[in-house]
């Protein structure tokens, strides 16, 4: 059962396409995994469609703006085009991720963007990361934590969104499982860790992580590792 969801605002801007590329991927992947958010997305789409197309009569301002709209010419152009052949039906996406001998089934949004997943690199301890190149200023990263792995306590200068693709991780407040979507702003300190299970997450950061405790403060100069 998914406990943590994107906000209504995230879902709305996912529907209109007005989030950063990394966040569109995050919210889209959550929606793939969450039937409740699928229903919300559909509802938002219906509301948008109603707003765009619902009026029986075009209001004056639109009618005026359409003075120069030569619908007949465009209609004739469209009808005159030769019919497009349907695209090749055999097109298949690689929908699996293989890492450390384990296979992970990727939700649709990630599978369609499989070609954007870069090389895996080992970080400290039993953690691996791979960048997902989607353009935009914030950074989308797969992070894999083996069992019994802890990320040093850290805050973020900006926002951090984390989505569990497979497995479980814990922090001071809760446990997070498949499909859970957590959005943290810069004020939250936390120490994510895995226990008996490993965990594959997708993470979007809009500023480098800032480690706050003990020896791991020494890692701060390397936080660019997370942020490449």
């Amino acid at each position: 059962m998914i406990k943590f969801h994107p906000s209504e605002e995230h879902l709305f801007h996912y529907v209109t396409g007005d989030l950063t590329p990394a966040m569109l991927m995050m919210v889209g992947t959550h929606v793939d995994m969450c039937s409740q958010c699928q229903r919300n997305v559909q509802h938002i789409e219906e509301t948008m469609a109603q707003k765009l197309f619902g009026q029986r009569q075009l209001p004056e301002e639109f009618a005026a703006a359409n003075d120069s709209f030569d619908g007949d010419e465009m209609l004739a152009q469209i009808l005159a085009q030769p019919q497009q052949q349907p695209r090749d039906l055999s097109q298949q996406f690689a929908s699996e991720l293989v890492l450390e001998g384990k296979r992970f089934q990727l939700p649709g949004t990630l599978a369609r963007n499989h070609h954007r997943i870069g090389q895996w690199h080992k970080l400290l301890g039993q953690m691996w990361r791979a960048p997902v190149q989607v353009g935009g200023k914030d950074v989308l990263t797969f992070i894999y934590m083996a069992e019994n792995t802890r990320v040093p306590e850290h805050t973020h200068k900006g926002n951090e969104a984390t989505l569990v693709v497979n497995g479980v991780f814990n922090d001071e407040t809760s446990d997070y499982r498949d499909g859970d979507f957590v959005f943290l702003d810069g004020s939250v300190k936390h120490t994510p860790e895995t226990r008996h299970e490993d965990c594959l997450t997708l993470s979007a950061l809009d500023a480098p992580m800032h480690f706050t405790s003990g020896v791991s403060r020494l890692l701060n100069p390397f936080s660019s590792l997370f942020f490449k």
Binding site: G17, A49, A111, N113
Partner: protein, 206 residues
């Protein structure tokens, strides 16, 4: 048969049914998909194109880009009507998602950046194979549908239309009767004859 269908469609236009009625819009899309009915498309175009233009003008503040969005959206409606799934949502919602995708790609195209996401990769509204990733059996289904499509080509056009509306567009027999303006009994008998014929075709191929 074509004449009867066209006449009825015209009569619908004259009556109060407008593309803002979801059932009517869905029936028009089904006619575009199965018959490539220019009449049904024109009716959709006259309703949706000016409203898309108003939306796109607000979004882009640029006349030419707005017109491009309208043209590209409606071209997709004309060519891809078979991808509309009535059980997934209304015709206007489907057209909104097409316009949303085109807007998304227009906005990125202007920035000329590498690695940029494309709308199709986020929202596969116009993918021919929408369910493949969610459904392990989709491949077999597709194969089956492709084979069936070949057999359907053999049917008389009137029967094929009924079969496609019921089994591809997911309409009830009553909805098909309404959309085509023919009695329910005719729909039933055409369905029965078509299925009988399909069964013969499949068996004779074995």
């Amino acid at each position: 048969m074509q004449t009867v269908i066209e006449t009825k469609t015209k009569r619908n236009t004259m009556s109060s049914a407008q593309p803002d009625d979801p059932d009517h819009a869905a029936a028009l899309l089904a006619l575009v998909a199965t018959e490539r009915s220019r009449h049904a498309f024109s009716e959709l175009f006259r309703y949706f194109a000016p409203r898309l233009k108003a939306y796109a003008t607000r979004q882009f503040g640029n006349e030419q880009t707005a017109m491009d969005l309208v043209q590209e959206t409606m071209t997709n409606v004309w060519n891809k009507a078979h991808l509309f799934k009535p059980d997934r949502g209304s015709a206007s919602t489907w057209i909104f998602t097409i316009a949303r995708n085109i807007r998304f790609d227009f906005l990125r195209k202007n920035k000329h950046r590498q690695h940029d996401l494309s709308a199709d990769e986020l929202w596969p509204v116009l993918a021919e194979q929408n369910d493949s990733l969610d459904d392990d059996y989709a491949l077999d289904d597709d194969l089956l549908m492709q084979q069936l499509a070949v057999y359907c080509e053999e049917l008389p056009k009137a029967q094929r239309t009924v079969i496609e509306l019921i089994y591809v567009a997911g309409k009830s027999q009553q909805e098909v009767a309404d959309a085509l303006g023919i009695p329910l009994g005719t729909v039933k008998s055409r369905t029965r004859l078509a299925l009988q014929k399909l069964r013969e075709l499949i068996q004779s191929d074995d």
